[in-house]
Symmetry: C2
Subunit: 120 residues, 2 copies
C-alpha cells in the first residue's frame, strides 16, 4: 500500500495552504489505484507537518510513502530541509520505504509547455 | 512584435535565478514565432527587475508584452506586487499593450499531471 505526500512550503495566508490541499485532493482522484491515498503536508507555517503526515500514512497501513516536493527551485528547502524532516521518520520505521521524488521544477519540459499555454 | 517576460520571485541563491533564466531560454526556443523574445525578470533580489525588463522589451521594438508569473500560489506577490510594478510602465507607454498572464499554479490540471509523472 503506497501513499503520496505532496509537500509545499506553507504560508501565513491560509488560502494558499487550501490551494495545496485541493491539489492533493485532485491528485488523489487522478492517481486511481497507484496510490491508496494522497495528502498535503507543509514544511512550515501550516499543518500537517511532514513527519506528522508520514506518521499518519504509516498508521493507516502504508508500506511505501512517496514525498513529492511542490517547489519550483532546487533551493535549501528541497536540498536540505525536506530530507532532514524525512530521515528521522525513515529511521523510526525501517520496514516502510520512504522516498523523495524530484521537485516540481525538475520537470522542465512539462513546465515550459504549461507556461506557454498560459501565455497564449 | 510580442515579447514574453517570465517573472520569478528572485533568490539570494544565484543558482535558483539561473534556473529561471535557463527556463526563459527554453521558452524562447519552444515559442517559435509566437514571441520575438522571451526574457526572465525578478520581483526582488535579482536582476533584471520587472520594470527594467519591460523597458528593455519596448526599447527593442515590442508592441505587446506578456508578463507571465512563475509562481505556484495566488498570494500577495501575484495579486498585488507584480501588477504594482507593471502598471507604471503601462502608464508610461500607452502605445504598448502590456498584459499579465495567469500564474503557473492556475494551470491546476497540467500541474497535477506533471506531479503524478514525477511521483512515478
Amino acid at each position: 500500500m503506497k501513499h503520496l505526500v505532496l509537500v509545499a512550503h506553507g504560508s501565513r495566508r491560509e488560502a494558499s495552504n487550501e490551494e495545496v490541499r485541493r491539489l492533493a485532493e485532485r491528485l488523489r482522484q487522478l492517481a486511481g489505484e497507484r496510490y491508496a491515498d494522497v495528502t498535503a503536508a507543509f514544511l512550515e507555517l501550516a499543518e500537517p507537518s511532514i513527519p506528522g503526515a508520514i506518521q499518519c500514512c504509516i498508521e493507516r497501513g502504508a508500506h511505501e510513502v512517496v514525498v513529492l516536493p511542490y517547489f519550483l527551485s532546487q533551493g535549501r528547502h528541497v536540498a536540505n530541509d525536506i530530507p532532514e524532516q524525512v530521515q528521522p521518520k525513515q529511521a523510526e520505521h525501517p520496514q516502510v520505504t520512504i522516498t523523495i521524488a524530484p521537485y516540481l521544477g525538475a520537470a522542465e519540459e512539462g513546465i515550459a509547455a504549461l507556461l506557454l499555454q498560459l501565455a497564449h
